[in-house]
Amino acid sequence: MFEGMTIFERIILESLEKNEKTLIELIEDTALNEKLIFQCLKNLAAKNIILVQERKYTLNYQGKEQWSQNLLQTDHLKLELQELLEGMLNVALKKTPESLLKIRKVHMDEKDEMILKAMLVNVEKFLQDLEKKNARSKKTSNKKIVFTGMAAYHDILHCV
């Protein structure tokens, strides 16, 4: 059995983390089609990650320690992140007004790097504050995905 998690299953878990839902509510919240959701739910139930009670799907909190171990394996998380990045790249290549993906290769001295890091800390704080806002009533699929980061060129060269 595949032990990782696809983006489809991940959004279902994020949705169920807010509250238990029926299939129709999941379709509305995730914007996935019925067949795909149904297949994902079947697989998640087989992995004991979700439970079905009176037509409502809920996370299996009692067994979380066990199933979350598989999901936290570095290999699977890395591939999941790759999937998100690839999706973001594909969206950006479509050049829709909503897509935004920038990459720059620049030299920076210590002072420049300090300024940038301070700005990134501010961005991170801003995003954390947004996360804290009560967004339970908003659709999970309407979330924005934001990546921030920086790495030295030579480090990347040795890690590909």
Binding site: F2, C40, D75
Partner: protein, 111 residues
């Protein structure tokens, strides 16, 4: 009719997951026509050529994949090979999830 049966059987083997509709899109031959061919209607020369060309190209692609896999296994570390394996496993799993279960192809060639 012997060669027709062979080529249709090879095509079925190669594209076993496709529905008649999907086969029609792939070959440019109408799905209803394909259905009739699989039920014993005689094939036209142009239809032979389409199916043969697709089979040849898919065989070429399969050989390329096999060569690449053999090469990558000799070039990569065990960890890299494992990552690649997980990545392919993930892709297959994702594609299977996304598959829309249409009426599955149930091909019957006539004797």
């Amino acid at each position: 009719m012997g060669y027709q049966k062979t080529i249709l059987s090879a095509f079925k083997q190669q594209y076993q997951d496709l529905t008649f509709k999907q086969m029609g899109e792939l070959t440019g031959i109408q799905s209803t026509r394909l259905f009739r061919l699989y039920n014993g209607h005689e094939m036209r020369l142009s239809e032979y050529e389409i199916l043969e060309k697709l089979l040849r190209s898919s065989q070429h692609s399969l050989n390329r994949w096999q060569n690449m896999i053999q090469e990558i296994l000799t070039l990569t570390s065990a960890q890299e090979a494992r990552t690649l394996e997980l990545s392919l496993e993930r892709l297959i799993y994702k594609k299977r999830l996304q598959e829309i279960p249409e009426v599955t192809l149930s091909l019957q060639t006539t004797a």
